[in-house]
Point group: D2
Chain length 367, copies 4
């Protein structure tokens, strides 16, 4: 059974083996060393040299709220540049917190109108921008360089959910001017669920330290983690909430594998496999939701069901050994299915995916 899902993705045996060791004491020197190495290696994945790296046990949604609660001043205006379901989750979380949310939806098929975001932010005097680097419901990838420019020009703080990009796409937090970047273990990083990884620029760290207000939450406030992670980044002990030792051990091995491959070659591999996949899909006459290749992410492809097909196709594929997830985009949920192709994905995975698709489409057409 080949599972080409969004997550959890295929995990390397050496990563699993590490998660099965007995969890260390939270102040064990070896554990603190391992933790510090994780924060060091994440800098390469996130593209950040200075700044602070955090590893926190939480779900992706909780991590998004960590960012929103910690950085958006209460009752302030915020912009959400929404490329799908996860942009809408930013919106919902911000709305719940009582923020004045300006949701700017992006057409799921492209193109992406960065100018509209620039105008909105300038006109409304918005100082906090949320976006999703790669939205797994549309497959769209944002050009964070463009959004970073808008953010800098307007003196805004840019907060990015990079969960579906980190490990599969080029990440340059420093160069782009992303203030806070978020990733998580079970996507292209290839580690079991349980941890989120956050990196804050020096500007964002300072901002957090001097923040004159308090968020609605203690559990999801990043501020108490600052001094803990300043210690952890140096291999020292700190405590505010307990770390998840097993998964940190798994992450340590996962990052080792990524750096062994090299972040450049890894991104290049993802790009190559994406192109192969897309070429194959076109041959099969399947239409990719995102029209222009410039807006397509390396790791998630959303495909329109061909004429006369619907969700029952997924059952037929599964009967032939291929598990693919259905659509989740608010406008296209019932009209699309998806292929996850990031992390430890191989050329064989791509060719198997394409051939099962071809056979299943033919067979059921015949019937």
């Amino acid at each position: 059974m080949l599972r080409m899902t969004i997550g959890p993705t295929r995990i390397a045996p050496s990563v699993l083996a590490k998660t099965a060791l007995h969890p260390p004491a939270i102040n064990d020197p070896d554990f603190l060393k391992m933790f510090a190495e994780c924060t060091r290696d994440l800098r390469t994945v996130h593209g950040i040299e200075k700044g602070l790296v955090y590893i926190i046990p939480a779900t992706g949604t909780m991590a998004m709220e960590i960012l929103a609660a910690s950085f958006a001043p209460p009752r302030s205006k915020v912009a959400v540049f929404s490329t799908g379901m996860w942009g809408d989750r930013w919106t919902e979380s911000c709305r719940r917190m009582g923020l004045d949310v300006f949701r700017l939806p992006v057409n799921a098929r492209g193109p992406i109108d960065y100018g509209a975001l620039g105008e909105l932010v300038a006109k409304e005097g918005i100082k906090t921008i949320f976006c999703t680097h790669v939205d797994s419901s549309s497959g769209l990838i944002l050009d964070l360089y463009e959004i970073g420019r808008i953010s800098k020009k307007n003196g805004a703080m840019l907060l990015v959910d990079g969960i579906c990009g980190a490990g599969a796409e080029k990440m340059d937090q420093d160069g782009w001017g992303v203030d806070v970047l978020l990733s998580s273990t079970p996507k292209a990083i290839g580690v079991p669920c349980g941890l989120v990884m956050i990196s804050t620029s020096d500007r964002a760290t300072d901002w957090l330290k001097n923040r004159p207000w308090e968020p609605w939450t203690f559990a999801l406030d990043l501020k108490p983690w600052v001094s803990v992670m300043e210690a952890h980044n140096k291999g020292q002990f700190g405590y505010v909430q307990s770390p998840a030792g097993n998964i940190v051990a798994g992450l340590h091995e996962g990052l080792r594998l990524i750096l062994a491959e090299g972040i450049g070659p890894r991104v290049a591999r993802h790009e190559r496999l994406r192109k192969e996949l897309h070429a194959g899909l076109e041959k099969l006459g399947l239409e990719i939701l995102v029209k222009d290749v410039a807006y397509r992410s390396n790791g998630v492809t959303v495909i329109l069901y061909p004429e006369g097909r619907d969700g029952s196709l997924l059952g037929a594929l599964q009967a032939n050994g291929l598990v693919l997830p259905g659509g989740t985009h608010p406008d296209y949920a019932a009209k699309t299915f998806r292929i996850g192709h990031f992390g430890n994905v191989t050329p064989e995975d791509i060719s198997t995916t394409l051939s099962v698709l071809e056979q299943t489409l033919k067979a059921s057409k015949a019937a």
Copy 2:
């Protein structure tokens, strides 16, 4: 090296082995069956027959906020019956959320004045009560039957952090009238960090379904989990945030071991070992923080440093092979050290702990 800490506690090899299997797909039928069995077995641990059981990836602090955010009406009066550091964390979270918090501190050395809580709740018309079954900073255990009576009498909702009690103490959520009970994996349940387990009475579940207001948070709102867990309790699929498959697999095995031992015998074992430990400590002339045995928990003992001793004792113990954690109670942090003796703890662990303590105290006295 013997670690008698509060957590993560010693984890059985079979539990670790289960966490090392590749994480299942989130809608895999075998995974859903395993998940449902976990919710079934947790009913025995929590002492709840009806009601709904939730398994959610989060830290303990996040879980506490899930309860506070989901059940305390915004800007309402709430009571926190605080037995130490974790009671104070309830207080801080409630304060952050803008609740009108009435903190009633309990003397860390006892006795516990339940009457004062009853008077406060009645006088102020409080409808939400928070408490910590066993506070790991004091070692105090609350009589939840007494607090349940106060809650029922005043028509209040009773929300209990049972993290340091579940698996080591008798739990009778139904009988006590606890509306919402919370536990987590890495304490007496003996499973790696990563999951919290919540059970809501039918009254609390209905209350949640019909709740006429929204909390400040989406990520920490229990309401969207209700329908997901109603499905999961029956082995069906549901989705709001991704489950942590590996840890669920570990929990499945951990609960199997607990039920194989039997919850009654397991609690009796904890009680027996606690008495042995306390008898030994007294022989050594060490004074336990909680004076009266009626208020002492089965799994955490907080001890006053003997005259002339301080935190340096912990280093000396560690040099002799015993790791003990320092104090964390707001009033006694520097004056106490602690022994964690829950989960997979054995009679040998107790006798080793006592003999290393004896030798270390003697040796350093001689010097």
Copy 3:
């Protein structure tokens, strides 16, 4: 110069004379007697026998927020049945307070779809309903009996801005089941600006006394006024914020005049003059915004500019001695002008209004 505006309306000389007396001490027995008589007479104007009457120095907008802040539980769902600018002000205030507002707009030209409100309230489980008895931007009058039925059926609290109805329309707070009714001095009551009058049913008063949460505001919270007004309703002293003694004296005389006329005859007079006015307008070929007479209020008429006319008409009218206000409805501001005909309005006012309108329209047409 004849001013047929929405307010301040024409004030009787005896009322003005009373406001010019030196303000009494706030605990002067004569002042307290006068205050109690005002609350007694307001019961006739509001149509409430039991319950509690409040007289508070505030603007209408502040009074609307007193109701919203005091009665809508924080972050709860509320419905606003919006008949124009003042319904939208309910919406804005509720939104600011962080309520989950369901705004149901009513077509300014009618008809009024009460069924839609009933469905919304039932479907969303809404427990707080806001509406405007007469919205001065549309001239629409709501049938509060119908809305009271919806409210009762759904166990909701009904809060009504009766500012432009009280003193000109039949008011039956008891019979309709309106929980809280609001009016103010400078409309059909015929007293200078400065006071708002609120009446709460016994149910609403009890609800307020036992309210388990606090609003965002102290200054606009009705709860501290309850005991003060329980005293004042009986002619006794109470204090939370200073009363505006001069205007209370004016209100005392204004209410005496209303009761001397008789509330029934007064409403009948308003109805008669409204019909005369509308008949005259039709003769002039002018179109009233509210099409069906069933939805037309007694005291405010909104008129569409005839073909080819705009706001400059108001200047021409003023040059001929008639002051009329422009439009304020969000959808019709530039397309309408208004006539205020409540309070101390006479048949001569109506005939003068019509004749100046006729002459001005003719003259300027000729030109």
Copy 4:
């Protein structure tokens, strides 16, 4: 009957006569001219040349919340330098709004420790300071020059309730660096209840215009008034909530009288009468709450009941023709009574007050 109360104070007949004229239309050119002249004359009373002046119908408590809601960022730290009941009302309003309030109480008997405020503000990084120029419950007057220095040094916004000082004390908003100053009609200004007067420095006005967040309230938000008052300051029309025309007319006359007397001579008169009163009280052996003359306000004196006396003294005084108010300071309510001596107070008022006090104390002592 001589009333030496805190308010409403004695009102000049010409002021009362003006309030008895029929209220003008809200866009009447004469009314707009009158309004602009009021804002001009208030500059002299508040001691502000540039900046913006607002006249708003509201109570003093509502005005305090207008300042708190409009200027303190949500959930930020604020300092309240509390000199009595009105400082505590700042505290309660700020607490309700969810601000993180640091209340620094001042000893009601003096001295005033400005250094403690400076340290608090610096240590906590507080950016909003609230205080009461003269607190009518203690009679203490703050040196706003000192507080202005602290505010400037820390980059904080200084918001002052000047209700009991304006018209009786030297006011130098510009020189002191007070960002927002508040006064009201019925104290030393000598006009009936109903209006509050606010002046914002250019810095505060700009801050308001560019404020990136929204308060919890629309009705008490100063921001929508900015453009309205920018128009009104120039004699032009603007609208957000209806003005109270009668009281504006009264204020116009009240300010004319103040400027005719001259603000310097008026303050000197208040100082002279205060000294006469205090000398007389000392002769009678009565002890003033505020010990040091440096901290005594010109218009309110709080006096400790002599040994063996209590509130019944006030009844005896009233029987002899003198009305004095009881104590209201949280710590001294039952131990003190008060004399209000601001506004249109005369030397005869002072001597009558002293002689009735003397006779009543003697007579009742004899009895």
